[in-house]
Symmetry: C2
Subunit: 102 residues, 2 copies
């Protein structure tokens, strides 16, 4: 595992902010999150139809956002509805505002 980020060598704050920031570090993921904050919940298809990337790529980005804790999905046949994870969203908001405060 050489040459990967070794998060353990940094403070918990540095780690957490970096994880959230990394999740926001792609314009497609920014667009997804904006849509989810605007519409409260969306299925994969309605996100994919507005993004300039393939459906399978959208799935990858959704997974990245999920891993960072920023979104969650619930099955609602025939679709899967994705929405903001409000608890972690608030956490991210606080991390960023603390970082830029001064």
């Amino acid at each position: 595992m050489a040459h990967a980020i070794d998060y353990e060598k940094y403070t918990a704050q540095e780690q957490q902010l970096a994880v959230f920031a990394k999740a926001l570090g792609h314009p497609a993921r920014v667009a997804i999150l904006q849509k989810l904050t605007e519409f409260d919940s969306c299925c994969h298809g309605s996100l994919a139809s507005e993004l300039p990337i393939a459906p399978s790529s959208v799935t990858q980005h959704l997974k990245a956002l999920k891993n960072a804790g920023l979104i969650q999905g619930r099955i609602e046949p025939p679709q899967i509805k994705y929405c903001i994870n409000k608890e972690n969203w608030e956490k991210a908001k606080l991390h960023f505002s603390a970082f830029f405060k001064d």
Copy 2:
């Protein structure tokens, strides 16, 4: 250039936020920025001595932050002093706060 992010397919806001976020997406860069906001200006060496990575890696991260517009350096023999690019820092702050506002 296949399989790289095609920023042009996204809105200016999505692009800009993603660029800033990507720059914050590594704990070492978060640590560097925190130190620069705390101490106003630092040389490469004093940053490197507090980070768990090699000096040449610190240079790489400084370059990434510079490319994103978040820091700038000025020669002040025998050192190079790095500091926050206040104009873009403010811009980043506004982008993030707008993003999380709702």
